[in-house]
């Protein structure tokens, strides 16, 4: 039963990180652009980072339905809240990743006649992504743990499964230890994966 919860935890987190990276990349780029998008991205990041994920989850699940006049399944609400949340953090990671790339790379690409988009896509982002793999991994791990918050909208991820079992058996110590162990296995796997990816994407070392 705990394992079905762990599966949901991994599922929710993976989907959220996937959309978070897309959203975050766009946000990170917008943060460095000129014009109204830059402002919009800054507001998005500030608002999301300045409010608790718990509150964001409640707003998406309880608030959004009255806005769009139809219920949102808890699963969708959770993915939405986690992705939006993750996007803001990833946005900052991407922004600093892009900024860490030497200005000479832009100049070299420009001098060859590459457009801004081509430069971003082929020169800057590939290098930036290599650099942001470690902080991105940290974000994944943080989200893996934070995703337990979506239990408040009745999603039975790992922590909630633990609570349910404890509610029946009143055996908190064993169950929490098992929950912690499963979390550890998951985060440990992710951090090993990140290490591996980082080594693989560094051309040679």
């Amino acid at each position: 039963m705990l394992l079905t919860g762990a599966k949901l935890t991994v599922q929710l987190t993976s989907i959220a990180v996937f959309f978070g990276i897309i959203l975050g990349t766009l946000t990170g780029i917008a943060r460095l652009s000129k014009g109204p998008l830059r402002m919009l991205a800054a507001i998005y990041i500030d608002v999301i980072r300045g409010t608790p994920l718990l509150v964001q989850t409640f707003i998406v699940f309880y608030g959004l339905p009255s806005l769009i006049q139809r219920p949102i399944p808890a699963y969708v609400a959770a993915v939405l809240a986690l992705s939006i949340n993750s996007g803001a953090y990833v946005g900052e990671i991407v922004r600093s990743g892009i900024q860490s790339i030497d200005k000479g790379q832009w100049e070299a690409a420009s001098s060859l006649g590459l457009s801004n988009y081509q430069t971003m896509r082929h020169i800057i982002l590939p290098q930036a992504f290599r650099r942001i793999i470690p902080p991105l991994g940290n974000e994944f791990i943080a989200l893996l743990k934070d995703s337990s918050l979506v239990s408040v909208i009745a999603l039975e991820e790992l922590v909630r499964k633990g609570q349910i079992i404890i509610g029946r058996t009143f055996r908190p110590f064993e169950i929490w230890t098992a929950v912690a162990l499963i979390f550890f296995v998951m985060t440990f796997t992710v951090s090993r994966l990140v290490d591996y990816l980082e080594r693989r994407m560094t051309p040679h070392a």
Partner: protein, 251 residues
């Protein structure tokens, strides 16, 4: 190594604190005050009110002990007992065989009856047999949760959504994320009285009865006997009935 002195200090403080709390005449009570009308926080005064609160104070008075109640999380109620941070937990806890393997329960002090809450305009739900294909919202680890889970296992329910509070479960029905809430009748009554504008109603008593008990550490048998004695006393001298009427009206 800077942290070592801090650690030692913490240990000393914790030990000191628990020694003080162990002082003879104090009954340390843990509850989770999100279960109106059994236990809840008075919005104005911040005081802990409810049937359970009044009952445990009466038990304390009967035993000549000072009652100190803390409002902690539901998940903390049982660990707190196993750790000896508290002597008893009282929070509308349903007595089950499974739970009784981990803690001791007092004699039942309340017989609970379940009900179903639906939207006001729903006509075709009157009993637990009418819930096929429906999704039930419940407060996690309550009687309603157990009933819903059994029902789901038997195919009489499509799904169970477990929330931390009754309010969240009710809200889920309001926004259409669930069809019904299954919960204790007194709790449903209290919620609907407190929120008359909510587009919800309950269908009256359904299903069988469950019993609430006061939970204690298995080793603490001496206190268990005292509390059972006090409960008997309260029934005999009419105090129990007074408290019951106070919260639920006629018996």
């Amino acid at each position: 190594m800077k942290k070592l002195p801090v650690f030692i200090l913490t240990v000393v403080l914790v030990v000191a604190a628990s020694t003080v709390a162990w002082g003879a005449g104090v009954l340390r009570v843990a509850t989770e005050a999100g279960f109106m009308p059994f236990e809840f926080v008075d919005e104005k005064t911040g005081e802990l009110l409810g049937f359970d609160m009044e009952l445990i104070k009466a038990i304390g008075a009967e035993l000549g002990m000072e009652v100190k109640i803390d409002n902690i999380s539901w998940d903390g109620l049982i660990p707190a007992l196993l750790n000896n941070n508290y002597d008893v937990s009282i929070a509308g806890i349903t007595i089950t065989e499974e739970r009784a393997a981990s803690v001791n329960f007092s004699d039942p002090y309340f017989e609970s009856v379940l009900t179903i809450v639906t939207k006001s305009n729903v006509q075709n739900i009157a009993s637990l047999d009418d819930l096929q294909g429906k999704i039930a919202a419940v407060q996690i680890s309550t009687t309603g949760d157990f009933e819903a889970s059994d029902l789901q296992d038997a195919g009489g329910l499509k799904g169970v959504s477990r929330f931390d509070t009754v309010t969240d479960a009710m809200q889920a029905v309001i926004i259409g994320a669930a069809d019904v809430v299954i919960l204790d009748l007194p709790v449903a009554n209290a919620y609907l009285e407190a929120n008359p504008q909510a587009p919800l109603k309950h269908v009256g008593p359904v299903a069988d009865n469950e019993f609430y008990g006061i939970a204690l550490n298995k080793k603490n048998t001496e206190l268990l006997e005292k509390i059972n004695g006090a409960l008997t006393q309260l029934h005999e001298n009419g105090t129990y009935d007074k408290i019951y009427q106070n919260w639920f009206g006629a018996q």
